[in-house]
Each structure stands twice: as structure tokens, then as C-alpha cells.
């Protein structure tokens, strides 16, 4: 699981990175709001933890911008401010939860687990990127033409469409789609190949770039 942490207090950031890593999370730490927006645009995370008071852009501005780009990754605000207004502002900006400093590490970990568990429920079942629409409940991939995808194809396409222009390694995709199944990692390339053929067949203006066993990324042609 990947977490984007934006916290400008270096000591607190260092402590959070240590504890989150120790609990099995892969943490990307940035120290201002602008860097948070950049990271969120180029990589896919399972959760975002933002401070509110930060240089360049504050946490609320950063999250507003990230949400405006269609990114629904669960987000939690860590804030020194306990005022009601900030909590409301943060939640309205698209945060899913908040914690007021000082907080107990165990509570942060529990809230993160809870957020990631529920993250699928936040998603609408229709995703649009470029001229392409994926309806995840109907498993329909539609542009000029339409096809109905198989289960794993839908999951894989959903991950790519929720994160356009972001790279995923073969291992990451395998973990996300085939986690509990008796398959080996070669299946990723087969399904990437299916989706490539189908993107062409529906005349989508998108393509999946990347080579066998390496990283893949969905982008506009």
C-alpha cells in the first residue's frame, strides 16, 4: 500500500515515515502542497495524508486541485488546528477524514486501514478518460464502439483509467487484480494485450504504453 505524506515539519514527517514504513506502507514524503499535487498527478497512491498549514500551497488548496483532476484517492488531514472551521473546510475540499494534532499513532493507523478498506465504496461506477467510458458494474468499455469486458479486464482497466498518466509495474498490477488467485505474473501481459486490442477496436483515443514484464501507463495518443 502506498501513502503520499505531505507534512512540512521535518521531525514529525520523519517519525511518520518510520512508523508507517514499519507497518508495511510504502511512503512518499513531500514537504509542501505544490509537491503533493505534483506527486499525486504522476503516481498512484492508496491513501494521502496531508497537513493543512504548509508552504507554497496549503493542504486544502492541494487537495482541492487533486480532486478537481478526478483523483478519488482517500485523503486524511492532520492538523494542528482544532477549530471547527478547518475541519469543515478540509472535509468540503474532499478529505475523507481528519485527525487533530497531537494524535496517537495507533489511531492514525486504524483510521488509515479504515479509509483504505472503504475506498472502493466512494467510486462511481462510470469512469471517463478522453473519449473512453468504462462502466464497471456493466463491465462495458465504450467509445465509438462498445465491448463487454471479462472481470479481471474490468478491474485492470479501472485501475488504469482512475490513474491516467501514472505508471504501474507488472508486480503492482498483479497484486491489485490477481491478489487472491492462483495465477502467475505472466497473466498481466496477456490482459494488457487484451485491453490494447480492445482500445483499438472501440476506437479509443487512449493507449497503454509499456513492455512485457515492465511498467504500464494509460495515456492519450
Amino acid at each position: 500500500m502506498k501513502i503520499l505524506l505531505a507534512e512540512d515539519e521535518v521531525d514529525l514527517s520523519r517519525a511518520l515515515v518510520a512508523i508507517l514504513s514499519h507497518n508495511g506502507y510504502e511512503v512518499t514524503a513531500v514537504y509542501d502542497g505544490e509537491a503533493a499535487v505534483e506527486e499525486a498527478k504522476s503516481k498512484a497512491f492508496d491513501c494521502m495524508v496531508f497537513d493543512i498549514m504548509m508552504p507554497k500551497k496549503d493542504g486544502i488548496q492541494a487537495l482541492t486541485e487533486i480532486r478537481a483532476g478526478g483523483d478519488n484517492t482517500p485523503a486524511l488531514f492532520l492538523t494542528a488546528k482544532a477549530e471547527m472551521d478547518d475541519k469543515i473546510l478540509g472535509l468540503n475540499a474532499g478529505a475523507d477524514d481528519y485527525l487533530t494534532k497531537p494524535f496517537a499513532m495507533q489511531e492514525l493507523l486504524a483510521r488509515l486501514r479504515s479509509l483504505m478498506r472503504r475506498s472502493n465504496a466512494y467510486h462511481s461506477d462510470q469512469i471517463t478518460v478522453g473519449n473512453l467510458v468504462l462502466n464497471t458494474s456493466e463491465q462495458e468499455l465504450k467509445s465509438q464502439n462498445a465491448v463487454r469486458l471479462a472481470g479481471p479486464e474490468t478491474k485492470l482497466m479501472e485501475i488504469l483509467m482512475r490513474n491516467p498518466n501514472k505508471e504501474f509495474t507488472t508486480e503492482e498490477l498483479f497484486e491489485k487484480v490477481w491478489k487472491d488467485e492462483q495465477e502467475n505474473k505472466d497473466i498481466v501481459w496477456v490482459y494488457i494485450s487484451y485491453l490494447r486490442t480492445k482500445l483499438v477496436a472501440v476506437s479509443a483515443d487512449l493507449e497503454i504504453i509499456g513492455e512485457e514484464k515492465k511498467s504500464f501507463c494509460l495515456r492519450l495518443k
Binding site: 465491448v147 463487454r148 496477456v190 487484451y194 476506437s203
Partner: protein
């Protein structure tokens, strides 16, 4: 017995159809020798029946005579070429275009852009130059041939849909239509997966 709508041209039309099928069979053998795989699975050919031709002329408000059957309508001679894989369809389209004495008058790619109901097929109207007199009195003459190309999966769908479509008194017409469309899109998806698998193991 009532005279054929095709008049004295019926015999030539049968010969044209037969010759074209034979030419394609030769081509298929050549492709098999070269690649070890057939260019297509099978062909069905037919002259549009008198009854359907008269009905179609009537519905288009055209005079019911031989001239209009052969000139205003262009599907009196029809061939359906059924292929295993999607790419085979496009290869056969290219083969047809390269045939001598064939001019492509019209092409419609309902594979790239399926019809609203999910129907997929590649349609072509050919104008063939043949050593028989045509309805305008030309020799060599010119006859139209309609070709439909599609995969086995597309053909399966079209055949089954055809059987269901004309059933009367269907209660949930809209549900049935959208379910048939869904079946077409699922079959198309399988076709694409099979094509991809073939490409991956080649």
C-alpha cells in the same frame, strides 16, 4: 410458372456466383499453402429469391422488373465469407480488392463501428466485369455482387438474433434488445481476446 425477376440473366448470375466462389476457394488454398492457416472458414452464396427481391423493390417503391432488380438494387448476388479471426476478415477484404475484374463500389465497416443493435460485419458492394451480357446490353457485362464478411462469432450472433427478432408478442422488447446488444459486445470481446492470444503465440 411465373418468369424469374432476373429474366434471361439468371443463368449468367448463377455462373458469376459460382465462378467467384471457385476463385475464392483457390485463393483460400493458396493462403493455406503459404501460412498453414485458412484465409476463411467457409462461404455461403445465394441469389436473392424472387419473392424477397420483389418485396424489396416494392418496399423501395421501385418498378418490379429485371432492370431495377439488377441495377437499382445491388444485392441480387450475395456471398457471405465467414472467417475464424478478426484479422482474417480484413485480409480477405484486401484479397477481394486485389482481384482482377473487381471494382469496389461501396464498403461499410460494421466491425469498427457496430450497428445500434450490436450487429457486426464488413459489407462490400463489388462491380464485376464478366464475359456475359448485362441488363444494359454490354458485353463484357457488369453485375453487382454484395459481400458480407465476418467472424464465426459475429455470424453466430447474427444468425441467432435473426431467429429471435421476428418472434411476435415479445413482452419486454427493450430488455431483449439491450440483452442482445450485450451478447454481441461480449462475443466481440471474446473475438478480440482470441485474436490477441493468436498474436501472442505467433
Amino acid at each position: 410458372m411465373e418468369e424469374s425477376i432476373y429474366g434471361t440473366y439468371k443463368e449468367s448470375m448463377e455462373k458469376i456466383m459460382q465462378t467467384l466462389v471457385e476463385e475464392l476457394e483457390k485463393k483460400n488454398n493458396l493462403i493455406f499453402q503459404e501460412t498453414g492457416e485458412k484465409g476463411y472458414e467457409h462461404i455461403t452464396a445465394r441469389l436473392k429469391s424472387d419473392q424477397s427481391m420483389r418485396k424489396k423493390l416494392l418496399s423501395k417503391k421501385l418498378p418490379i422488373d429485371t432492370y431495377h432488380a439488377l441495377r437499382s438494387l445491388r444485392d441480387s448476388i450475395g456471398l457471405r465469407i465467414i472467417c475464424s479471426f478478426r484479422d482474417d476478415v480484413y485480409n480477405m477484404v484486401d484479397e477481394l480488392k486485389q482481384m482482377p475484374e473487381v471494382e469496389v463500389i461501396e464498403e461499410k465497416d460494421y466491425i469498427k463501428k457496430a450497428k445500434e443493435n450490436g450487429y457486426r460485419s464488413y459489407h462490400m458492394i463489388l462491380e464485376m466485369t464478366v464475359p456475359y451480357e448485362d441488363v444494359d446490353g454490354n458485353l463484357p457485362g457488369k453485375y453487382y455482387v454484395e459481400i458480407q464478411l465476418r467472424t464465426i462469432a459475429m455470424d453466430t450472433w447474427a444468425e441467432l438474433e435473426h431467429k429471435i427478432r421476428y418472434k411476435k408478442d415479445v413482452a419486454n422488447r427493450e430488455v431483449i434488445a439491450s440483452e442482445l446488444k450485450r451478447c454481441a459486445d461480449e462475443l466481440a470481446s471474446c473475438d478480440l481476446s482470441m485474436q490477441t492470444i493468436r498474436d501472442l503465440i505467433r
